[in-house]
């Protein structure tokens, strides 16, 4: 199925190309976000990714490897743009300054501000993770993918994905010790 779609797109079938974009744009955007960590850059990077995809689609030899191929392009494009714009780490605040807040008990503007601040700290901690831990974690949360699906895109084994997710969560716990809702 995917092979036929890719073959048609490679031959210039616009409907097949359109379908490829529709089916894969969502997770490609998640992958871009996992790399750059900035929602304001996702749309621009996604457009660049699809431009590169159409330029290089003819070089894709194995259509069943479309996902890892797409992920590689998305990751490299996102890295290029991310380097150009600077990483999000600048917005990191002191982890010690942020109190633990239960989002469900939020009632006042002060609580809302505190919640936003806490979210910023969580995101900063995610961005502080090494890329090989951060990317599967973000894909897991945004796409709700299984380990097998993440493994296919990242081109690693299922066991590697599981290990990276365990390490990612352990690192986050260390970074955010005492600052998350109990």
């Amino acid at each position: 199925m995917i092979g036929r779609l890719v073959a048609l797109a490679q031959r210039g079938d616009r409907r097949a190309a359109d379908r490829l974009v529709r089916e894969h744009d969502g997770w490609v955007r998640s992958a871009i976000y996992a790399v750059v960590g900035r929602p304001d850059l996702v749309d621009d990077v996604a457009q660049q990714v699809w431009l590169r995809v159409w330029e290089r689609l003819g070089t894709l030899q194995s259509p069943e490897r479309l996902r890892p191929w797409l992920y590689t392009i998305a990751r490299h494009t996102a890295l290029d743009v991310g380097e150009a714009h600077g990483r999000r780490r600048g917005r990191t605040t002191s982890l010690e300054d942020v109190p633990a807040v239960d989002e469900r008990s939020e009632r006042s503007p002060a609580q809302a501000a505190s919640r936003r601040e806490q979210r910023e700290v969580l995101l900063a901690a995610v961005q502080a993770l090494p890329a090989n831990y951060r990317e599967p974690l973000v894909l897991r949360h945004l796409q709700d993918w299984s380990y097998a699906e993440i493994a296919q895109v990242l081109d690693v084994s299922v066991e590697t994905v599981e290990t990276r997710l365990v390490r990612a969560r352990a690192l986050l716990r260390e970074l955010l010790q005492g600052q998350v809702p109990k």
């Binding site: 929602p39 996702v42 989002e103 806490q118 979210r119 945004l142 599981e162 365990v166 716990r173 998350v180």
Partner: protein, 174 residues
């Protein structure tokens, strides 16, 4: 991290990600009877829930930004089209005066649909003593320009004397 703690973390992760097998879920249920393990799992789950929520909220901003940007683009485009339409209407109602080459030419007035005045011919009438030219090119300067006519043997001859331009009629058998 010792081996038991590592196995427990893997079990927690697999349970949270929905990857745990039936046996693993049974094992986790058994382990959760221990208060310390339960507290640890709940903290683990709370952190994961908070991180997932923060990521989803932040990522959703990307879609919201795209919608806002596209909406802004559409509004801007509509405004630009409106301004262009207004300018076109004003030009149509009040057309600018056409540039004239000299002061003798009357100014075009009225709307765009008013009939054009016939252009004034700047060519002088032929003098009564006009003689048919005998040569196409006199010396090195081209004084006579010969343009082929519609029929064979017909030509239009233009005399150029650097001061004024005269046009003659068509001559046969030139």
């Amino acid at each position: 991290m010792n081996a038991n703690a590592d196995r427990l973390e893997h079990l927690f992760t697999r349970a949270l990600d929905g990857a745990a097998s039936h046996d693993e879920r049974d094992l986790l249920d058994t382990l959760l009877r221990d208060e310390s393990v339960r507290a640890r799992f709940e903290a683990y789950a709370a952190l994961d829930d908070a991180v997932g929520g923060a990521l989803r909220a932040d990522f959703d901003r990307a879609a919201a930004l795209v919608v806002t940007r596209r909406l802004g683009w559409r509004i801007g485009r509509a405004l630009a089209m409106g301004v262009a339409a207004c300018i076109a209407t004003l030009i149509w109602l009040y057309p600018p005066p056409l540039p004239t080459p000299d002061h003798h030419r009357p100014q075009q007035a009225g709307s765009w649909f008013a009939p054009m005045e016939p252009p004034h011919d700047a060519v002088e009438t032929l003098p009564a003593t006009f003689e048919r030219p005998q040569a196409r090119v006199r010396g090195t300067e081209r004084h006579w320009i010969v343009v082929p006519g519609d029929e064979p043997g017909q030509f239009m001859i233009v005399e150029v004397d650097r001061v004024r331009t005269e046009v003659t009629g068509l001559y046969e058998d030139y």
